[in-house]
Subunit: 359 residues, 2 copies
């Protein structure tokens, strides 16, 4: 049985209506919808419209503020700290990235740490905002603790993604966007829905032992940092996740480590917060603060062409450039529609009923 | 048989004399020695005095300039590009980091890309320069192509390390410093010297197949990006290595990807360079450009204490904080001396003979 397919426009209209129903101003509802749907288009299904009802449940619990007063609380010529006022990360993050871009226009680079925010969708969207300004963009965020550092059985970090977007001239941009774990949580959700096992090295049991159960985190187990085990460098994945946590939350004044509030509304945030909400970190670097932009982009074309032309191992068609799979998926889904898992469809229908909207 | 042990002072005096013999001005010889020996102290033996004769061979080939005119060739309030004039990276990199720190003092953050440089020792040394200024420090560099991107049999990237140093209050600083491959090349060198096999996932054969031979790169094989294989996220390690390459070299105007000159003097640099020398990238962020430094550092103490106190898997004593092993090794070796592999000792003795210096 294949999943039902919806056009981008249908999903967009529905998400927009929902965001308006929970009280988002029209411009913010449009922005939140745009960010959310980019995940579906780019094939990162776990971060798209599948999360819509989750955002609504957080709003129900008054953990998401649909009319936030987002404001800069600290700044220098190249930096700022933004208080997201418990807004949707989908709205707070683009605002932060805009400020980073403005700072970069003025002094070459801009760096913005954000506190008091919520889940911001896909990191890649925000990093890519820099591209049209001939800037390199970076975005990272911390997230609910599901990941055990190397040697730990406790879950102290989120999947803490990093995105880096780099412009080229005639080639499409380089866009890396990845969780700092061996596998993103969304990949485990796919296995759960299909009743499949996970490879060894993605999750560990409550006691820290090996497991292939994609539901392991529901019984006290944990995701594993990129590297899978100590011998294969999981301490490096742990370093990456820790770096993202500290930049996103210790610099900004958000909650960090095990204090990050859970995304799911049925779990309460820790009663002893060390900061406000979740945290993000953004950067924008003007290319011509380093060298002429055209010169740089011509060399990026050369870099990309050379890597794309690399000789492959037998059975593999090509070496990918970061961003290739998502860009190709986006073109395909814009034309052919976006497949949704039946459970997601049920969830959206229920959401429609609640708000008296047809899905 | 245990390796012979030398005091820090003995190795330091010898390295200092050698750097002077090849014509480094006294202050630069002292700095190069300091950076080089920190690798030995911190237990990163592959990047320390074991490389001394390699630097000398590059100097012999006129690929290292011992009296470089290091200069800023482009800048903005928060950025600079530095031309290392073929100097030792051990000298060029600290100069770049000083500029990053000065920029951060003025506008909150400073970012310096470097071209026309050579191997810079351990990335962690340079990142840690920021700590005493209550700044976060970052350092990365590209390196000779030994790493095959996911699905590639060609070696297009170096082990391209990243270091991030973050100050705390009463706790020692957080210092992450790691190659973006599953295993650093130095770990393979150790296995080679001991005639041991490597775990699957560290290297691949010339055809891209699995291998346990630590000498695989000598017969056309390659190191593998962090993650080991596609299923365990090697494409993320590839993204990291690519990011380091682009920031270090495409931003600065150095050679990138397969055009990076080899560290070993017996291999000539590519005849069709795309830039000058190898490239580095450095960053410094003033903590109080985001929030008061004392407040931040107190939270870092809390972060570190919480992670250090995490419950461990059976058989493991503790969860490490990035920087713990190197700091402990450094204290031990400063007191008990630095063991050198007999092959390294032979190499240093030969170097001494060449320059009429006793080792």
């Amino acid at each position: 049985m294949t999943d039902p397919v919806y056009t981008y426009e249908v999903l967009k209209d529905f998400a927009l209506s929902i965001f308006k129903k929970i009280g988002c101003p029209a411009d913010q509802a449009a922005l939140a919808t745009e960010v959310l749907l980019q995940a579906d288009l780019r094939g990162i299904d776990s971060h798209g419209i599948a999360r819509l009802s989750g955002y609504v449940r957080l709003w129900n619990k008054k953990r998401v503020n649909s009319t936030p007063g987002i404001r800069v609380v600290h700044e220098s010529p190249s930096t700022a700290v933004l208080d997201g006022d418990q807004g949707l990360g989908l709205v707070v993050a683009p605002r932060a990235m805009e400020i980073a871009i403005q700072k970069a226009q003025q002094v070459g680079t801009g760096w913005v740490a954000v506190k008091n925010s919520n889940h911001f969708g896909i990191a890649g969207y925000h990093a890519m905002m820099a591209l049209k300004h001939d800037m390199i963009g970076m975005a990272m965020t911390n997230a609910s603790p599901l990941v055990a550092p190397t040697f730990s059985v406790e879950r102290l970090l989120g999947t803490n993604p990093i995105a880096v977007a780099i412009p080229a001239a005639t080639q499409p941009p380089f866009v890396a966007d990845f969780a700092t774990t061996t596998a993103a949580n969304g990949k485990l959700e796919i296995l759960q829905r299909k009743n499949l096992q996970a490879p060894i090295g993605w999750v560990q049991t409550k006691a820290g032992g090996p497991s292939t159960d994609p539901d392991e985190t529901k019984s006290g187990g944990a995701l594993i940092p990129l590297g899978s085990d100590r011998e294969h460098g999981s301490h490096k994945g742990y370093c990456l996740g820790a770096w993202v946590d500290i930049f996103s939350a210790v610099l900004s004044g958000a909650n960090y480590g095990p204090w990050v509030p859970p995304f799911v509304a049925f779990l309460d945030p820790p009663s002893d917060p060390v900061g406000e909400g979740i945290g993000h970190f953004f950067g924008a670097m003007r290319i011509d603060a380093f060298r002429p932009a055209e010169e740089f982009k011509t060399h990026m074309d050369n870099w990309i062409s050379r890597f794309r032309a690399a000789k492959t191992v037998a059975g593999e068609e090509r070496v990918l450039i970061p961003g290739d799979p998502e860009r190709e998926m986006s073109a395909q889904r814009m034309q052919q529609g976006i497949p949704l898992n039946p459970k997601v469809v049920e969830d959206l229908k229920a959401l429609g009923v609640t708000f008296n909207l047809a899905f």
